[in-house]
Amino acid sequence: MVPAPDASQLPGASPVSDAPPLRFEKITVVFDDVKALEDFSFTVKKGETRIILGAAGSGKTVLLKVAMGLVRPTSGRVFVFDEDVTDIAESAWFEVRSKIGMLFQESALFDSMTVAQNVAYPLLNQKSIQMKREEMEPAVRDSLRFVELEQTISKYPGELSGGMRRRVAIARAVVTKPPLLLYDSPTAGLDPITAHTIMALIIKERDVDNTTALVVTYRYQDGNLVANFRYNPDSGRLDPAASGATKTVFMVLKEGRLIFEGNQAELEASTDSYISKFVKRPEEAAA
């Protein structure tokens, strides 16, 4: 889709190897004596999509913010592309973050900027990229075309609907073509049709650019869609995928602890009452 440069190929960018894009080792995060994450360990392999399920306050967003360096862990180690980033300075994090795209829960678009300026923001400000202004517009247009919102380029976020804002935020997250993407509740607060559109974009991004992704959600159907469908570039639609072809792993969080990690079949087979609440089994869906 977007012929914009790959983050790893941009001037000054460090090459992205086949190393695991993200690894947590015994991460604990404490806020005011409350443990948001506790002894949390997992490794995300290249090309994998992790669906992170959990109730509100279970630590899903904190997990993404630790991965992005926006929250410092109280203990444990974080590795991004095999680089230990646990104790690096904020200025060093800017380089690491150029390899990561993030969609925030409420989109977090800058209200005072147009859609074009929002999408161009990482191209202009990330030190390892800093694209020339004349090269920027095609990249911004391509990214907006990817989310089918090129016509909104000169509008302000306040003029867009919630779903459109979410799509513009996806365009901003992927404009630098980062190899690792973090989606924080991409479908929260959206109607089912718009939610489906957003998830289809996430699948399209995964299949077109072969990105690794963490998708935080409380909706099992989002994970089901990611695990079982692929983007068909010819038809531009989602087609059913072969079993296991999408490299999707499910994780379930409860009160800051990882209580499940496995594939969809294992998740659906779980008899844990907490996990079962997130899983909509085929017979339940039919009912």
């Binding site: 926006l70 994090w93 800017f94 973050r97 409420e106 977090a108 800058f110 400000n125």
Partner: protein, 266 residues
């Protein structure tokens, strides 16, 4: 028994002080980072210009209004008081000294604090609760460099300018009263006004708003950036910023005045 009471009261006092001390430490850390960024790249010149327009030019109407009426009221009261000693002709003298040394800097700063510390706190607070500050960090920008430093520079440049405008408009207000109420000749009013001022008065009158500007911008940014608790938190941060900035202005004013008085230049 007394020992345990002492222990409880000491720990309670320490717990009570922990929050404010932490806040003061955080404030000075933010101030240090903002000032360090003045000489560090990148510099956001467009943001500085934008803030100079919003914080400075946008404040001119309130400065004109408050300056004119404060000068007029002062001339009215002083004219009456001086009239008891047959010194009504010295109204311009008193008005200019009080305006330039005290009332101009403090009144302008308090008005600007009311308008801009609240504006800064609510804008940054809204950005904080909608994760725009986090997004800024995620997209390669230091929020202190992008948001705090331009506001600090813009306020430091514009507040002394606004104070000069306030002083002049206040003198004009005093002149209107001197002419209409006390029938003083214009030449007498303006010559006494001009002669009353020394270089130290002008220095004091410009140094104060320059120092107050840091209190206004940094306190506004500090409360904005530590906002939590949604829209209610934004409202709380805005109120706290205005109160803290206004009180700080009066406290700093006392210290700066004391230094000038002690130096014998007052």
């Amino acid at each position: 028994m007394y020992a345990s009471i002492d222990f409880v009261s000491t720990s309670t006092v320490l717990d009570f002080l922990k929050g404010p001390i932490q806040a003061i430490q955080d404030f000075f850390e933010l101030a240090g980072r903002a000032m360090r960024n003045v000489i560090r790249r990148p510099h956001y010149y467009d943001d500085i210009r934008l803030q100079m327009d919003a914080l400075g030019v946008g404040s001119i109407p309130i400065v004109l209004l408050t300056g004119f009426f404060s000068g007029a009221v002062m001339a009215l009261q002083m004219g009456r008081a001086l009239g008891q000693y047959g010194q009504t002709g010295r109204v311009g003298n008193v008005v200019s000294i009080i305006l330039v040394r005290e009332l101009g800097p403090v009144l302008t700063s308090v008005m600007v604090a009311g308008r801009n510390a609240s504006g800064i706190a609510s804008e940054l607070g809204s950005m904080k609760v909608t994760e725009q500050i986090d997004a800024m960090r995620a997209l390669g920008t230091d929020p202190v460099q992008k948001l705090v430093t331009p506001r600090m520079i813009a306020t430091a440049v514009m507040l002394p300018c606004l104070t000069v405008i306030d002083d002049f408009v206040g003198m004009v207000g005093g002149w209107v009263i001197a002419r209409l109420v006390y029938a003083l000749p214009s030449l007498q009013y303006w010559s006494t006004t001009w002669r009353a001022l020394g270089w130290s008065d002008l220095g004091q009158g410009l140094l104060k708003p320059f120092i107050f500007s840091f209190a206004i911008s940094l306190i506004g940014c500090f409360y904005g950036l530590r906002t939590s608790g949604g829209t209610q938190g934004v409202g709380r941060a805005t109120t706290q910023a205005v109160v803290a900035a206004s009180v700080t202005i009066f406290v700093l004013d006392l210290f700066i005045s004391k230094i000038f008085v002690s130096a014998g230049s007052s």
